[in-house]
């Protein structure tokens, strides 16, 4: 019986999409409003999906308290109410698109010891979402 457990977490953060590889005019043309100089923000929702055998003693894939603490430490505390461009070293040289943020959250959570991370689905707004399940052949896929 294949089971996956998904937990949803919310956080708010600001970002600005600007690539140093592009000219100011190209940045403006490609990123539009997202390139405005002082940035803007979103209420993100991250769906974290895990799988693994049910622990016969608890009937659970993963202990939710353990998962909540791990996600709080690895993702919510470093990201919530932060500026992604300024406050996260990984985005010093990488554009903080929600694609890249989705990959970053996957990388942070794949070390969760209680179960296997299947994928991250990240909602930037109620109308845009992105999913990342690791690279084919990677240890987590």
């Amino acid at each position: 019986m294949r089971l996956e457990l998904t937990r949803r977490y919310s956080f708010a953060a600001s970002h600005r999409l600007h690539s140093p590889l592009l000219s100011p005019a190209e940045n403006q043309r490609i990123y539009g409003k997202c390139n405005n100089p002082y940035g803007h923000g979103h209420n993100y929702v991250a769906e974290v999906t895990l799988t693994g055998p049910l622990d016969p003693a608890t009937g659970m894939i993963a202990h939710l308290g353990d998962l909540d603490r791990f996600v709080a430490r690895e993702v919510l505390e470093p990201l919530d109410h932060r500026n992604l461009n300024e406050d996260l070293p990984v985005f010093r040289d990488r554009v903080p698109t929600t694609e890249n943020l989705c990959i970053e959250i996957f990388e942070r959570l794949k070390k969760f010891p209680g179960a296997r991370l299947v994928r991250i689905r990240l909602e930037e707004t109620g109308r845009n979402s992105f999913e990342y399940a690791g690279e084919p052949g990677g240890s987590q896929t």
């Binding site: 294949r2 089971l3 996956e4 049910l54 009937g59 202990h63």
Partner: protein, 139 residues
């Protein structure tokens, strides 16, 4: 292959408690879910059936048939019930979202007459759901 999904809601009580653990271990592991008199949720169940459309009707499976199946197998059995005390299929299992989703899969899979059950998604709250795929892949 086309997939159709029907959504229903039911309300039920449960409590997490493993008789092999001490009272203290139960409290430590299950937290509030171990409070002695139980608690409940408004569960939302999404049932997805996959199959080819019948050329005569344009349907994978008659929605009315699926609706009646869910009424009989899930609503009559679980709605406004205690999952610990009143659902025979859960006897001896802790009624976690994982186990309830697996039981719903086992109840429905053999009774889908056209197409096949592809996924059972059970929401315990707006922040938590479990997907069951039986022994198959992702829908």
């Amino acid at each position: 292959m086309v997939y159709l999904t029907r959504k229903i809601e039911f309300s039920a009580a449960h409590r997490y408690h493993n008789p092999d653990f001490s009272a203290e271990e139960n409290r430590r592991i299950f937290g509030k879910c171990n409070y002695p008199n139980g608690h409940g949720h408004n569960y939302v169940l999404e049932v997805t059936v996959g199959g080819e459309t019948d050329p005569a009707t344009g349907m994978v499976l008659d929605l009315k048939e699926l609706k009646e199946l869910l009424e009989r197998e899930v609503m009559d059995r679980m709605d406004h019930r205690s999952l610990n005390h009143e659902v025979a299929e859960l006897a001896g299992r802790i009624p976690t979202c994982e186990n309830v989703a697996a039981v719903i899969w086992e109840l429905l899979a053999p009774k889908i007459r056209r197409g096949q059950l592809a996924r059972v998604r059970l929401w315990e709250s707006p922040d938590l759901y479990v997907d069951c795929y039986g022994d198959g892949g992702r829908a």
